[in-house]
Amino acid sequence: MRDYILDIDHILGLISGNEELTRRLAEAKNDARFGITTTILGELYFLIRSSAQMDANVASLTELARDLEVWQFNRGAAEITGEILTQARALGRPISEPEAQIAAISRQRQATLLTSQERFADIRDITFENWLAPQSTRHTLVR
């Protein structure tokens, strides 16, 4: 069974019923575990709290979070985050700390990150796929 981390764009794709994403989720559900990281959950609360119908959406997000694994940012992930930030800076393509934290948990859990953000392509030893696009490509960068 494989673990998948849904980045914030995929969560919004799920909410809005993106056809490709819902098809892929339905196909994979018997052999997969889907989750988000605590960093993504924080971003989602920020997003939802900025929406016009905040109260209803906060309640819906709390319910959605119950149906997802929420993977914690722990000491091991913190160590990997530092490594990722250092490597990205050395490559001359710095990434933000939230991105490094998400990538770190993905690497730590050997989970596939579902995202449309190409910036993750610069981070080594993580696998990411875009399930919002009709033709998904699997990327793994190992140096």
């Binding site: 799920l14 339905a26 018997n30 920020f46 939802i48 997802l68 933000s96 939230p98």
Partner: protein, 92 residues
């Protein structure tokens, strides 16, 4: 109150009940045959648990959340852009 150590393991005092009784029974096992029987029984219990309880198998029902959120026209995309901008600001 200090806790006694039994068989190299810490004995945790809890209110008497099923779990306490089961711990007592396990501590009183006399030989390897009885230990093996208990291990078989635990393995059987594990195999009878549902896939979700084992952390394996079916994922939780994510698709039921489709359409449960309320956004105004174009709001969802604007908010996603906002969050991704904030995420990228960390690089500056």
């Amino acid at each position: 109150m200090s806790q006694p150590y039994i068989g190299g393991m810490r004995h945790i005092h809890i209110t008497p009940g099923t779990f306490d009784q089961a711990c007592g029974e396990i501590r009183n096992l006399r030989d390897d045959t009885e230990v093996a029987r208990v291990l078989d029984f635990i393995a059987k219990l594990k195999s009878e648990r549902g896939p979700e309880e084992n952390g394996k198998g079916k994922s939780k029902p994510l698709l039921r959340h489709v359409g449960r959120f309320s956004f105004n026209e174009g709001e969802r995309e604007a908010l996603l852009d906002m969050v991704l901008r904030v995420r990228e600001e960390g690089t500056r």
